[in-house]
Symmetry: C2
Subunit: 413 residues, 2 copies
């Protein structure tokens, strides 16, 4: 077996980002994923590529639809109008031979299009029904439209948390949004839930519903702080500025060339001698002001100032080998041009290059999960709208005559 999910069939009735990403993970690991799209509009992510309605700061590149590719590689596309009865019949045939059904329709839409768990599981009791909502299946907001820009980033406290960590004043304008920030996490969580349900089904023959929301995934993401507030009932205290951190081996410094780096040595006693050596200040090692965690905390302002001056004396490129050689725990702040050139990223194959049939040589972001025997693969570029409609209908025993009729009625495109 070369592919982890060889033979697993997934019907992906979802749009934009989070649920399509869950399906892409399954596709990366070998599942046959059929992405179902509206015959007229298609998945609305297709139009995001043009920048309409978004102001993401991302430069508009060549014709290569990198966003579309990132969420839909390794999938096939079929157009189906789910609002028409004949469209629902196509979906029911797909459901009957599928292992997984994936959707981000809201509960009221699932019911309206007769594609709710009840209906789908009656057709195929072994099916795993993965459902992603904005705000959960209960409560007054269960049918509210949810994006990660609303349900995940601001509402869970993440935007608040990051603003505090950046030292923003309490009345500052909050950051607007980071595209797909929560979607990529929720996509992982949904793929994990579906795979858990596959384990159960392989053992017991029983399917089930896997349900998660953007809002709850964001609360989980932020659980470090939220589990504290659940106990104290309080919000975070203000976070000290970098020069006031009790441990000067765990804060942010600037270099000579105006770059920034962060030190992260919470167990600082272990690192202290090596740190003094790495920065060329061995005389500090046994200085009684600094020779233990407690002493450094007591004299942190003095030590911060010394270390600040030291880091300002060389460029980041000079510091990198010196700090690495001593095995210190630290990292540089990088922008995206730096990330895509990072030698460590390149040495570990964070990016895959391939020849796209339309756009030629392109590079995309690899799946981060490395399985030694059944690795993720890139087998197909993301499909054109409805690229596989006829092929899939023929697999479902529709005839060419049926296909002609369905096109005529606008059920497919």
């Amino acid at each position: 077996m070369a592919l982890a999910l060889e033979g697993i069939k997934v019907v992906d009735v979802s749009q934009v980002a989070a649920a399509p990403m869950a399906a892409r993970h399954l596709a990366d690991f070998g599942a046959d994923v059929i992405h179902v799209e509206n015959p007229i509009a298609g998945d609305s992510l297709r139009s995001v590529q043009t920048g309409i309605g978004l102001a993401t700061g991302a430069p508009q590149p060549s014709g290569f639809k990198h966003y579309w590719e990132n969420y839909n590689r390794n999938k096939r596309s079929i157009t189906v109008d789910a609002s028409k009865e004949d469209g629902q019949k196509i979906l029911y045939r797909l459901v009957c031979q599928a292992d997984v059904y994936l959707t981000n329709m809201r509960p009221y839409e699932q019911a309206k299009f007769k594609l709710d768990y009840q209906t789908v599981s009656e057709l195929n009791p072994k099916i795993i029904y993965g459902s992603l909502t904005g705000y959960g299946k209960e409560g007054t907001e269960k049918d509210a439209p949810g994006y990660d820009h609303t349900a995940y980033w601001p509402r869970t406290g993440l935007a608040h948390r990051v603003a505090l960590a950046a030292g923003a004043s309490p009345d500052a304008v909050p950051s607007s949004f980071v595209p797909s920030f929560g979607d990529n996490v929720a996509g992982l969580a949904l793929a994990f839930g579906i795979t858990l349900a596959l384990v159960v089904r392989d053992r017991t023959g029983v399917g089930q519903e896997v349900d998660l929301s953007l809002f709850q995934t964001g609360v989980y993401h932020n659980s470090w702080d939220i589990c504290a507030s659940l106990v104290t009932g309080r919000d975070l205290d203000p976070i000290p500025l970098r020069e006031n951190f009790p441990n000067p081996l765990q804060t942010v410094y600037q270099t000579k060339d105006k770059r920034w780096l962060v030190l992260c040595m919470p167990q600082s006693d272990r690192y202290w001698p090596r740190f003094c050596q790495a920065i060329g200040r061995r005389e500090l090692e046994n200085d009684t002001r600094f020779n233990s965690f407690e002493n450094r905390a007591m004299n942190q302002a003095t030590l911060f100032h010394i270390v600040e001056q030291v880091f300002l004396s060389r460029s980041l490129d000079e510091w990198q080998p010196m700090l690495n050689k001593s095995g210190l725990s630290w990292g540089p702040y990088q922008n995206f041009t730096e990330v895509i050139k990072d030698p460590q990223a390149r040495d570990n194959d964070f990016f895959i290059d391939y020849n796209h049939p339309t756009y030629g040589h392109v590079e995309v972001v690899a799946n981060p999960i490395k399985l030694s025997r059944t690795p993720a693969t890139l087998r197909m570029p993301a499909p054109e709208l409805g690229q596989n409609t006829e092929q899939i209908l023929l697999e479902l025993d529709y005839t060419w005559e049926d296909i002609k009729q369905l096109k005529k009625q606008g059920v497919i495109a």
Copy 2:
């Protein structure tokens, strides 16, 4: 079957956050997870609770160790000194009867303690070996210590991305860190990878290595922007301020009571009539300056100013039902005291309360993945250091006499 991973045995030789969180996910779904800790120091997350070396802004609460609980509930704890040969023998016995081995030892440590994949898989060829590193298994930094504060947040461009979205000036001090921000995502990814490998093993009888890094998981998290830079070779363009967004139905506004909300209606034509109604400005609907996406973009400054004034006229509590009633896509910015009281979070059981044997009634953050037939459960609080040492050794056929000797030698505590 009431638990998804009933009967799955996991040996969790990891510390702090990301890999322990992966193990906690498996434990939440019913695996028997044995958390292996050093007899003297224990998992270093135990001491983080006291605040030493950290400056997280989190208020220090009552005695309840909520951080420890968040990463280690549903597990058992055994103390083993992995640097001693008799300690390795205990781990080998655990390995022989386990399904999953999980570690965040760095490659050189795995080799030093004879707990690398080669050794472990020779003892048990069916084992799934999950490994989390900071920077990947290849390259010059493969043995570097990695935290999410260094490998995930600054190095992947996430800190840079968030600063741009917040309108921070390019030379501003970057945000220091958000505790466990990347760990909780990497924990999900690792749990997903292990579960994929379980599917493969159940079908083919073959185990394998599952390997991921904090750095690569962060690059995946940020793949929306990074896949663009891979094509353009460029960094992000500056992100417009909220008053300059081309779509005034997709930006941030302040309310009368100084709260903030974000509108997210990229397909704004669909929402425009309802939006005008919801804000009590029906006359805008057919105003030729604003009656299409393109017209609103052309007159965005005028429209932004109108909408800004409207939102400033009422409090967030007044807006909430009005916007929800019209089915608009929007969300409030919340701090943590607001999150933990959020009615939608409560209605969907984002938090679980239970009686802790030591601390009494407590609330913790629930698992975000809801499986209808084999749900996550909270069966045990997080263990005290070595709470199950004797119990586990007896299960491995050690005698009480052996246990006495091992204690004497300091192999266990």
